[in-house]
Protein backbone atom coordinates (compact mmCIF):
# COMPACT_ATOMS: atom_id res chain seq x y z
CA UNK A 1 0.00 0.00 0.00
CA UNK A 2 1.46 3.32 -1.09
CA UNK A 3 -0.01 6.73 -0.34
CA UNK A 4 1.13 10.31 -0.87
CA UNK A 5 -1.08 12.63 1.16
CA UNK A 6 -1.43 15.97 2.93
CA UNK A 7 -3.24 14.56 5.95
CA UNK A 8 -1.50 13.12 9.02
CA UNK A 9 -1.41 9.34 9.48
CA UNK A 10 -1.77 7.03 12.45
CA UNK A 11 1.07 4.46 12.60
CA UNK A 12 -0.87 2.21 14.99
CA UNK A 13 -3.95 2.16 12.79
CA UNK A 14 -1.87 1.54 9.69
CA UNK A 15 -0.12 -1.41 11.36
CA UNK A 16 -3.46 -2.90 12.38
CA UNK A 17 -4.68 -2.55 8.81
CA UNK A 18 -1.54 -4.25 7.51
CA UNK A 19 -1.81 -7.26 9.80
CA UNK A 20 -5.60 -7.59 10.02
CA UNK A 21 -6.77 -11.17 9.54
CA UNK A 22 -3.21 -12.38 8.94
CA UNK A 23 -1.54 -15.10 11.02
CA UNK A 24 1.44 -15.67 8.73
CA UNK A 25 3.20 -12.46 9.82
CA UNK A 26 5.85 -12.92 12.49
CA UNK A 27 7.40 -9.45 12.51
CA UNK A 28 6.47 -5.87 11.70
CA UNK A 29 9.15 -3.21 11.59
CA UNK A 30 7.93 0.36 11.56
CA UNK A 31 9.80 3.57 10.77
CA UNK A 32 8.27 7.01 11.29
CA UNK A 33 10.12 10.12 10.17
CA UNK A 34 9.31 13.38 12.01
CA UNK A 35 9.94 17.06 11.34
CA UNK A 36 12.88 18.27 13.48
CA UNK A 37 13.01 21.85 14.74
CA UNK A 38 16.72 22.05 13.91
CA UNK A 39 18.46 21.10 10.70
CA UNK A 40 20.56 23.39 8.51
CA UNK A 41 19.53 26.21 10.85
CA UNK A 42 18.62 25.88 14.55
CA UNK A 43 15.12 27.37 14.52
CA UNK A 44 13.02 25.54 11.93
CA UNK A 45 9.41 26.66 12.35
CA UNK A 46 7.84 24.81 9.40
CA UNK A 47 8.64 22.54 6.51
CA UNK A 48 7.10 22.47 3.04
CA UNK A 49 7.31 19.23 1.10
CA UNK A 50 6.95 19.37 -2.66
CA UNK A 51 6.75 16.31 -4.89
CA UNK A 52 6.30 15.34 -8.52
CA UNK A 53 2.79 13.87 -8.71
CA UNK A 54 2.71 10.75 -10.83
CA UNK A 55 6.41 10.06 -10.69
CA UNK A 56 6.37 9.99 -6.89
CA UNK A 57 3.88 7.14 -6.74
CA UNK A 58 5.76 5.23 -9.44
CA UNK A 59 9.11 5.70 -7.70
CA UNK A 60 7.70 4.52 -4.36
CA UNK A 61 6.07 1.50 -6.01
CA UNK A 62 9.36 0.65 -7.69
CA UNK A 63 11.33 0.87 -4.41
CA UNK A 64 8.74 -1.31 -2.64
CA UNK A 65 8.88 -3.83 -5.46
CA UNK A 66 12.67 -4.02 -5.23
CA UNK A 67 12.38 -4.67 -1.48
CA UNK A 68 9.81 -7.43 -2.12
CA UNK A 69 12.22 -8.96 -4.59
CA UNK A 70 15.26 -8.87 -2.28
CA UNK A 71 13.59 -10.09 0.90
CA UNK A 72 10.78 -12.42 1.74
CA UNK A 73 8.05 -9.97 2.83
CA UNK A 74 4.40 -10.42 3.73
CA UNK A 75 3.44 -6.80 3.19
CA UNK A 76 4.62 -3.20 2.95
CA UNK A 77 2.83 0.05 3.76
CA UNK A 78 4.45 3.30 2.71
CA UNK A 79 2.94 6.73 3.40
CA UNK A 80 4.65 10.02 2.62
CA UNK A 81 3.15 13.40 3.42
CA UNK A 82 3.41 16.54 1.30
CA UNK A 83 2.46 20.16 1.92
CA UNK A 84 3.18 22.32 4.93
CA UNK A 85 4.27 20.55 8.15
CA UNK A 86 5.29 21.73 11.61
CA UNK A 87 8.07 20.48 13.89
CA UNK A 88 7.02 17.21 15.51
CA UNK A 89 4.68 16.28 12.65
CA UNK A 90 5.15 12.82 11.13
CA UNK A 91 6.40 12.97 7.50
CA UNK A 92 6.89 9.40 6.43
CA UNK A 93 5.80 5.94 7.56
CA UNK A 94 7.30 2.65 6.42
CA UNK A 95 5.77 -0.59 7.73
CA UNK A 96 7.30 -3.88 6.67
CA UNK A 97 5.80 -7.23 7.60
CA UNK A 98 7.62 -10.54 7.25
CA UNK A 99 7.68 -14.02 8.75
CA UNK A 100 11.02 -13.40 10.48
CA UNK A 101 12.46 -10.17 11.91
CA UNK A 102 15.70 -9.89 9.90
CA UNK A 103 13.91 -9.50 6.57
CA UNK A 104 11.64 -6.79 7.97
CA UNK A 105 14.50 -4.86 9.61
CA UNK A 106 16.66 -4.88 6.48
CA UNK A 107 13.85 -4.17 4.04
CA UNK A 108 12.63 -1.22 6.13
CA UNK A 109 16.12 0.33 6.16
CA UNK A 110 16.49 -0.33 2.43
CA UNK A 111 13.18 1.34 1.60
CA UNK A 112 14.06 4.47 3.58
CA UNK A 113 17.58 4.66 2.11
CA UNK A 114 16.24 4.39 -1.43
CA UNK A 115 13.33 6.73 -0.75
CA UNK A 116 15.74 9.42 0.46
CA UNK A 117 17.83 9.25 -2.71
CA UNK A 118 15.35 8.24 -5.42
CA UNK A 119 11.83 9.45 -4.68
CA UNK A 120 11.04 12.94 -6.05
CA UNK A 121 10.36 14.87 -2.83
CA UNK A 122 11.93 18.20 -1.92
CA UNK A 123 11.98 19.92 1.46
CA UNK A 124 11.95 23.63 2.06
CA UNK A 125 12.63 24.75 5.62
CA UNK A 126 11.10 27.88 7.06
CA UNK A 127 12.94 29.63 9.87
CA UNK A 128 12.65 32.96 11.60
CA UNK A 129 15.53 34.16 9.43
CA UNK A 130 13.96 33.10 6.13
CA UNK A 131 13.35 29.96 4.13
CA UNK A 132 15.61 27.81 1.98
CA UNK A 133 15.60 24.50 0.11
CA UNK A 134 17.26 21.67 2.00
CA UNK A 135 20.50 20.42 0.41
CA UNK A 136 21.11 16.76 -0.28
CA UNK A 137 23.27 14.92 2.27
CA UNK A 138 26.24 12.83 1.26
CA UNK A 139 25.48 10.41 4.09
CA UNK A 140 22.11 9.60 2.48
CA UNK A 141 23.85 8.71 -0.76
CA UNK A 142 26.33 6.49 1.10
CA UNK A 143 23.48 4.76 2.93
CA UNK A 144 21.79 3.99 -0.36
CA UNK A 145 25.01 2.86 -2.02
CA UNK A 146 25.64 0.15 0.59
CA UNK A 147 22.72 -1.82 -0.85
CA UNK A 148 24.19 -1.63 -4.35
CA UNK A 149 27.48 -3.07 -3.07
CA UNK A 150 25.66 -6.02 -1.57
CA UNK A 151 24.07 -7.03 -4.84
Amino acid sequence: MIRVQHAPFDPGGEQQALTKGRTDIGAVVSFTGLVRDFNERPDVTALTLEHYPGMTEQALADITEQAMHRWSLQGVSLIHRVGCLSPGDPIVLVLVASAHRRDAFDACAFIMDFLKTRAPFWKKEHTRSGHYWVAEREADQRDANRWEDEQ
Binding site: G33, E50, F121
Partner: protein
Amino acid sequence: MSGSDNMNLSHMNARGEAHMVDVADKEESRREAVASGYVQMQSETLELLVEGGLPKGDVLATARIAGIQAAKRTHELIPLCHALPLSKVEIEFRVDEAASQVDVTARCRLNGRTGVEMEALTAVSVACLTLYDMCKAVDKGMVIGAIRLDAKTGGASGDFKRQPGETPIVTASCSDGEVGMPPRRASPGLRVKCLAELRERMGVSELDVEFTELEHTNIAGLKQALRQRDSRFSLLQGQRVLCAVNQVMGSDDTPLSDGDEVAFFPPVTGG
Protein backbone atom coordinates in the same frame (compact mmCIF):
# COMPACT_ATOMS: atom_id res chain seq x y z
CA MET B 1 -17.86 28.98 -44.28
CA SER B 2 -16.29 32.09 -45.80
CA GLY B 3 -14.04 34.48 -43.93
CA SER B 4 -16.70 37.16 -43.61
CA ASP B 5 -19.23 34.69 -42.25
CA ASN B 6 -16.66 33.77 -39.67
CA MET B 7 -16.62 37.33 -38.38
CA ASN B 8 -20.41 37.38 -37.86
CA LEU B 9 -21.74 37.11 -34.35
CA SER B 10 -23.63 33.83 -34.41
CA HIS B 11 -25.96 34.93 -31.61
CA MET B 12 -27.39 37.84 -33.65
CA ASN B 13 -30.02 37.34 -36.33
CA ALA B 14 -30.39 39.38 -39.53
CA ARG B 15 -32.13 42.17 -37.59
CA GLY B 16 -29.34 42.32 -35.03
CA GLU B 17 -31.50 40.72 -32.34
CA ALA B 18 -30.24 38.14 -29.95
CA HIS B 19 -31.30 34.63 -30.86
CA MET B 20 -30.35 31.12 -29.98
CA VAL B 21 -28.59 29.31 -32.81
CA ASP B 22 -30.52 26.30 -34.15
CA VAL B 23 -28.12 23.41 -33.87
CA ALA B 24 -30.52 20.60 -34.83
CA ASP B 25 -28.97 20.15 -38.29
CA LYS B 26 -25.35 20.37 -37.19
CA GLU B 27 -23.26 17.21 -37.32
CA GLU B 28 -22.54 15.63 -33.96
CA SER B 29 -18.86 15.57 -33.16
CA ARG B 30 -16.62 15.17 -30.18
CA ARG B 31 -16.13 18.57 -28.59
CA GLU B 32 -13.61 19.44 -25.96
CA ALA B 33 -12.59 22.74 -24.40
CA VAL B 34 -9.99 23.66 -21.82
CA ALA B 35 -10.05 26.93 -19.91
CA SER B 36 -7.88 28.23 -17.11
CA GLY B 37 -7.49 31.03 -14.62
CA TYR B 38 -5.89 31.69 -11.27
CA VAL B 39 -6.49 33.08 -7.81
CA GLN B 40 -3.54 34.94 -6.40
CA MET B 41 -3.28 35.33 -2.63
CA GLN B 42 -0.97 36.02 0.29
CA SER B 43 1.59 33.23 0.74
CA GLU B 44 0.22 32.70 4.27
CA THR B 45 -3.26 32.14 2.82
CA LEU B 46 -1.86 29.64 0.33
CA GLU B 47 -0.13 27.78 3.14
CA LEU B 48 -3.36 27.61 5.13
CA LEU B 49 -5.18 26.40 2.04
CA VAL B 50 -2.64 23.64 1.44
CA GLU B 51 -2.59 22.42 5.02
CA GLY B 52 -6.36 22.63 5.41
CA GLY B 53 -6.33 25.32 8.09
CA LEU B 54 -9.05 27.56 6.67
CA PRO B 55 -12.26 28.06 8.65
CA LYS B 56 -14.59 26.80 5.89
CA GLY B 57 -12.78 23.49 5.46
CA ASP B 58 -11.44 21.71 2.40
CA VAL B 59 -11.14 24.55 -0.10
CA LEU B 60 -10.06 22.69 -3.21
CA ALA B 61 -12.61 19.87 -2.88
CA THR B 62 -15.40 22.42 -2.48
CA ALA B 63 -14.19 24.56 -5.39
CA ARG B 64 -13.94 21.47 -7.60
CA ILE B 65 -17.55 20.52 -6.96
CA ALA B 66 -18.62 24.15 -7.49
CA GLY B 67 -16.84 24.23 -10.85
CA ILE B 68 -18.43 20.98 -12.01
CA GLN B 69 -21.89 22.12 -10.92
CA ALA B 70 -21.41 25.46 -12.66
CA ALA B 71 -20.41 23.81 -15.96
CA LYS B 72 -23.65 21.82 -15.88
CA ARG B 73 -25.70 24.99 -15.28
CA THR B 74 -24.01 27.27 -17.80
CA HIS B 75 -27.21 27.54 -19.86
CA GLU B 76 -29.02 28.98 -16.84
CA LEU B 77 -26.43 31.75 -16.49
CA ILE B 78 -25.45 32.71 -20.04
CA PRO B 79 -28.63 33.71 -21.90
CA LEU B 80 -28.10 32.13 -25.32
CA CYS B 81 -26.27 28.97 -24.31
CA HIS B 82 -27.85 25.58 -24.96
CA ALA B 83 -28.31 23.06 -22.16
CA LEU B 84 -25.70 20.39 -22.88
CA PRO B 85 -25.41 16.82 -21.68
CA LEU B 86 -21.71 17.08 -20.84
CA SER B 87 -19.93 13.75 -20.87
CA LYS B 88 -17.05 14.97 -18.74
CA VAL B 89 -16.12 17.91 -16.57
CA GLU B 90 -12.72 17.92 -14.96
CA ILE B 91 -11.37 20.60 -12.66
CA GLU B 92 -7.71 20.67 -11.75
CA PHE B 93 -5.85 22.80 -9.25
CA ARG B 94 -2.17 23.44 -9.11
CA VAL B 95 -0.67 25.22 -6.17
CA ASP B 96 2.04 27.54 -7.43
CA GLU B 97 4.05 28.64 -4.43
CA ALA B 98 6.44 30.73 -6.48
CA ALA B 99 3.62 32.93 -7.75
CA SER B 100 1.58 32.46 -4.57
CA GLN B 101 -1.49 31.41 -6.45
CA VAL B 102 -3.76 28.50 -7.27
CA ASP B 103 -4.01 27.73 -10.98
CA VAL B 104 -7.43 26.43 -11.96
CA THR B 105 -8.04 24.42 -15.11
CA ALA B 106 -11.35 23.09 -16.40
CA ARG B 107 -11.84 20.60 -19.18
CA CYS B 108 -15.31 19.88 -20.60
CA ARG B 109 -16.25 17.30 -23.18
CA LEU B 110 -19.28 16.04 -25.02
CA ASN B 111 -20.36 14.42 -28.23
CA GLY B 112 -22.76 16.95 -29.63
CA ARG B 113 -23.63 19.76 -31.94
CA THR B 114 -22.28 22.74 -30.08
CA GLY B 115 -19.00 23.67 -28.43
CA VAL B 116 -18.27 23.50 -24.73
CA GLU B 117 -15.98 26.50 -24.29
CA MET B 118 -18.60 28.48 -22.36
CA GLU B 119 -18.97 25.53 -20.00
CA ALA B 120 -15.20 25.34 -19.41
CA LEU B 121 -14.97 29.11 -18.87
CA THR B 122 -17.95 29.07 -16.49
CA ALA B 123 -16.45 26.18 -14.55
CA VAL B 124 -13.14 28.02 -14.10
CA SER B 125 -14.89 31.25 -13.11
CA VAL B 126 -17.08 29.65 -10.46
CA ALA B 127 -14.24 27.49 -9.12
CA CYS B 128 -12.18 30.70 -8.72
CA LEU B 129 -15.09 32.49 -7.04
CA THR B 130 -15.52 29.56 -4.66
CA LEU B 131 -11.81 29.64 -3.81
CA TYR B 132 -12.26 33.33 -3.04
CA ASP B 133 -15.29 32.66 -0.87
CA MET B 134 -13.55 29.89 1.05
CA CYS B 135 -10.46 32.01 1.78
CA LYS B 136 -11.87 35.53 2.14
CA ALA B 137 -12.07 35.31 5.93
CA VAL B 138 -8.27 35.52 6.07
CA ASP B 139 -7.42 37.37 2.85
CA LYS B 140 -9.73 39.87 1.18
CA GLY B 141 -7.11 41.15 -1.25
CA MET B 142 -7.03 38.03 -3.41
CA VAL B 143 -7.03 38.57 -7.17
CA ILE B 144 -8.79 36.38 -9.72
CA GLY B 145 -7.05 36.59 -13.05
CA ALA B 146 -6.36 35.41 -16.57
CA ILE B 147 -9.59 33.49 -17.09
CA ARG B 148 -9.36 32.35 -20.67
CA LEU B 149 -9.91 29.60 -23.18
CA ASP B 150 -6.72 27.59 -23.65
CA ALA B 151 -7.87 25.16 -26.31
CA LYS B 152 -10.90 23.75 -28.02
CA THR B 153 -11.30 20.92 -30.47
CA GLY B 154 -14.16 19.72 -32.65
CA GLY B 155 -16.91 21.56 -34.49
CA ALA B 156 -17.16 23.60 -37.68
CA SER B 157 -15.20 26.60 -36.41
CA GLY B 158 -12.13 24.41 -36.12
CA ASP B 159 -9.59 23.77 -33.42
CA PHE B 160 -8.14 26.53 -31.32
CA LYS B 161 -5.05 26.59 -29.20
CA ARG B 162 -3.88 29.68 -27.40
CA GLN B 163 -0.49 30.69 -28.68
CA PRO B 164 2.16 31.65 -26.18
CA GLY B 165 2.45 35.42 -25.69
CA GLU B 166 5.37 37.69 -26.48
CA THR B 167 7.66 36.26 -23.85
CA PRO B 168 9.13 32.96 -25.00
CA ILE B 169 8.80 31.42 -21.58
CA VAL B 170 5.61 30.53 -19.83
CA THR B 171 6.14 31.64 -16.28
CA ALA B 172 4.42 30.92 -13.03
CA SER B 173 0.89 31.51 -14.27
CA CYS B 174 0.94 28.68 -16.78
CA SER B 175 -1.44 25.77 -16.46
CA ASP B 176 -1.15 22.14 -15.55
CA GLY B 177 0.54 19.35 -17.48
CA GLU B 178 -2.56 17.95 -19.11
CA VAL B 179 -4.06 21.11 -20.51
CA GLY B 180 -3.49 23.16 -23.59
CA MET B 181 -2.68 20.13 -25.63
CA PRO B 182 -5.63 19.17 -27.79
CA PRO B 183 -5.63 15.48 -28.66
CA ARG B 184 -5.50 15.94 -32.41
CA ARG B 185 -2.61 18.36 -32.65
CA ALA B 186 -0.23 17.33 -35.44
CA SER B 187 2.82 17.43 -33.21
CA PRO B 188 2.29 17.27 -29.47
CA GLY B 189 5.73 18.68 -28.64
CA LEU B 190 7.64 18.24 -25.41
CA ARG B 191 6.18 19.26 -22.09
CA VAL B 192 8.94 20.47 -19.80
CA LYS B 193 8.52 20.89 -16.05
CA CYS B 194 10.91 22.50 -13.60
CA LEU B 195 10.50 21.52 -9.98
CA ALA B 196 11.36 22.75 -6.49
CA GLU B 197 14.41 25.01 -6.14
CA LEU B 198 15.13 24.87 -9.87
CA ARG B 199 11.66 26.24 -10.62
CA GLU B 200 12.15 29.10 -8.19
CA ARG B 201 15.62 29.98 -9.41
CA MET B 202 14.63 30.00 -13.08
CA GLY B 203 11.14 31.42 -12.52
CA VAL B 204 9.61 28.80 -14.81
CA SER B 205 7.35 25.95 -13.80
CA GLU B 206 6.21 24.51 -17.14
CA LEU B 207 6.68 25.18 -20.80
CA ASP B 208 6.19 23.54 -24.17
CA VAL B 209 9.00 22.94 -26.62
CA GLU B 210 8.38 22.02 -30.25
CA PHE B 211 10.11 18.76 -31.03
CA THR B 212 11.60 20.31 -34.18
CA GLU B 213 13.53 22.84 -32.04
CA LEU B 214 15.84 20.03 -30.96
CA GLU B 215 19.03 19.53 -32.90
CA HIS B 216 19.72 16.31 -30.99
CA THR B 217 16.68 14.37 -29.82
CA ASN B 218 17.87 13.64 -26.31
CA ILE B 219 18.03 15.45 -22.97
CA ALA B 220 21.31 17.17 -23.84
CA GLY B 221 19.66 18.44 -27.05
CA LEU B 222 16.67 19.74 -25.08
CA LYS B 223 18.95 21.59 -22.64
CA GLN B 224 20.74 23.13 -25.61
CA ALA B 225 17.47 24.25 -27.22
CA LEU B 226 16.29 25.78 -23.94
CA ARG B 227 19.58 27.59 -23.45
CA GLN B 228 19.21 29.11 -26.91
CA ARG B 229 15.76 30.35 -25.92
CA ASP B 230 16.88 31.99 -22.72
CA SER B 231 20.15 32.21 -20.84
CA ARG B 232 18.51 31.41 -17.53
CA PHE B 233 18.28 27.78 -18.69
CA SER B 234 22.05 27.47 -18.47
CA LEU B 235 21.29 26.51 -14.86
CA LEU B 236 20.22 23.16 -16.29
CA GLN B 237 23.87 22.44 -17.11
CA GLY B 238 24.60 22.17 -13.38
CA GLN B 239 26.12 18.87 -12.33
CA ARG B 240 23.48 18.23 -9.70
CA VAL B 241 20.48 18.81 -11.93
CA LEU B 242 18.50 15.60 -12.31
CA CYS B 243 15.93 14.80 -14.95
CA ALA B 244 13.09 12.39 -15.61
CA VAL B 245 11.57 11.43 -18.94
CA ASN B 246 7.94 10.36 -18.70
CA GLN B 247 8.44 10.21 -14.94
CA VAL B 248 11.39 7.80 -15.05
CA MET B 249 14.87 9.01 -14.10
CA GLY B 250 17.01 9.82 -17.12
CA SER B 251 20.33 11.41 -18.06
CA ASP B 252 21.79 13.62 -20.81
CA ASP B 253 21.83 10.62 -23.21
CA THR B 254 18.20 9.60 -22.67
CA PRO B 255 16.47 9.77 -26.08
CA LEU B 256 13.30 11.84 -26.45
CA SER B 257 10.20 11.31 -28.58
CA ASP B 258 7.55 13.82 -29.56
CA GLY B 259 4.95 14.02 -26.78
CA ASP B 260 7.33 13.17 -23.95
CA GLU B 261 7.10 14.81 -20.53
CA VAL B 262 10.48 15.94 -19.25
CA ALA B 263 11.11 17.18 -15.72
CA PHE B 264 14.23 18.87 -14.36
CA PHE B 265 14.82 19.00 -10.62
CA PRO B 266 17.47 19.22 -7.91
CA PRO B 267 18.65 16.20 -5.89
CA VAL B 268 15.77 14.78 -3.88
CA THR B 269 15.49 15.44 -0.13
CA GLY B 270 12.38 13.60 1.04
CA GLY B 271 11.89 11.15 3.88
